[in-house]
Amino acid sequence: MNKLLLFLLISTTFLQQDPGKIIARQGQVSFFSYTPVENIKAENNQVLSIIDLSDNKIAVQILMSAFIFEKALMREHFNESYIESDIYPKATFEGTIIDFDPTLEGEQTRIVKGNFTMHGATKELEIKIKIQKQRQKFMVSGSFEAEVQDYNIKIPPLLKGNIAKIISVDFKFEYEAYES
């Protein structure tokens, strides 16, 4: 009886690993702030993301200093004065893709639910994503909006007009099989 149980447990843990994990090493995240005074755009092409296909859990890690801006000074201000990347070098997302079926070929639209942590503040997000599967490659893309206020980012009164209250964020990840 015990041996059977042990066998079952071991086999289930091995079976769980079977679908494996997929990873995106050069994920793209960009954000935009549109105001009448100034448009600010930044791009980061080194975002990491991983999906565990056994339980549809997803994690994203964004290195804040890897964002590139149109103006060199914007990047410095972003890291030094707003996001404080010396103290908070990364933003992370941990969540679950609801009803995601990794075996389905082609396109599927799903909701991902989880916690986004940036600048030391965590916020629960629900993001609509588009998943496209072609052979063994997965493409995930989507966008969401982040309120500056929610992440304890202080904007001096004189610059209120330069930075939008709501920042729109776009992302696009291309996953491949992960081998540890």
Binding site: A66, R75, H77, N79
Partner: protein, 300 residues
């Protein structure tokens, strides 16, 4: 006994599955091994207050840099509006690359024209594997254009050139606090008296403390090891505030240094730092930064 063992296996199985769920972010942390992280913005600007900081400007940025010093003369009554004296240096300073910076400027009060090159040789690393400090090399040349009494100066124009070489060593100790030590060598062109040295050795000390995200408190002092003998000189000292607003950098300071060119303010500051006129100067620097290169476009 059987029940105990069953329980143990269940706990074990649960632990295995929960560990699996948690370590997704840890896997990503392990993935990113090769990120070089340098200490950025040891100082926010190419100057601490009056002296150069270890910082160079980024590739393709042009600073229009206007330096003002205001002070009063000792006269009891004065008919000057606001202040008795004003000295202004207009300069253009350009980031040739992320490491190399070049600038030219001219000062109204003493007719000095100057030009400099600054190169960031070593960048401080924050992950503990590399250099624990930043190091920049600074070289300037200045030309004194004011007419001088005594005809012996006019004959040789080469005597009007002075040169300053600096080794700027700085460390961002915490995200808010940075310190700099700057060994300096100055060759002055003009000889005032036979006992005066033409070559001076000096060392500068500077620091900044960030009061907020955009405002920092700065202070600087230069010690000259072999000062001029024919006139009394004092080490230049300053306390000030740097305020950064988008593309504009505002610097406010109190200092005893009149000039804004290295050889003049380090070796030839004739007043000590106190509140008697005309010793104390109020300094106001304004910088507007133009970006001549779009970093997003260049990448594509």
């Amino acid at each position: 006994m059987k029940a105990k063992r069953l329980y143990f296996f269940l706990v074990l199985a649960f632990m295995v599955s929960s560990v699996k769920a948690q370590d997704l972010l840890d896997i990503l942390d392990k993935e990113r091994k090769d990120t070089l992280r340098y200490a950025e913005a040891t100082f926010k600007f190419s100057r601490i207050s009056f002296g150069h900081s270890v910082q160079t400007r980024k590739d393709g940025t042009l600073d229009v840099f206007i330096t003002n010093r205001f002070w009063n003369t000792p006269a009891d009554r004065s008919q000057s509006f606001f202040v008795d004296r004003l000295s202004t240096r207009f300069a253009l300073e350009y980031g040739v690359s992320d490491r190399l910076m070049f600038g030219v400027g001219g000062t109204t009060f003493d007719g000095r024209f100057d030009s400099f090159l600054k190169y960031k040789l070593v960048k401080q690393r924050v992950d503990g594997n590399g250099s624990p400090f930043s190091l920049s090399l600074f070289q300037n040349a200045s030309y004194f254009s004011e007419s001088l009494s005594g005809s012996r100066y006019d004959a040789i124009s080469s005597g009007r050139f002075s040169f300053t070489t600096q080794l700027l060593v700085a460390k961002k100790i915490t995200p808010k606090f940075s310190l700099q030590v700057s060994p300096t060598f100055i060759h002055r062109g003009l000889v005032y008296g036979p006992e005066d040295p033409q070559n001076h050795f000096a060392v500068g000390f500077g620091g900044r403390y960030k009061l907020g995200a955009h405002v920092s408190f700065v202070s600087e002092y230069y010690y000259v090891a072999n000062p001029l003998k024919s006139i009394d000189t004092y080490g230049p000292f300053s306390i000030g505030v740097n305020w950064e607003l988008s593309d504009v950098m505002l610097q406010f300071m109190l200092t005893n240094a009149v000039s804004t060119v290295e050889d003049a303010f380090i070796a030839q500051t004739r007043n000590n730092f106190n509140f008697k006129n005309p010793n104390l100067n109020f300094g106001f620097n304004f910088t507007y930064t133009f970006h001549l290169k779009n970093k997003l476009k260049r990448k594509k």
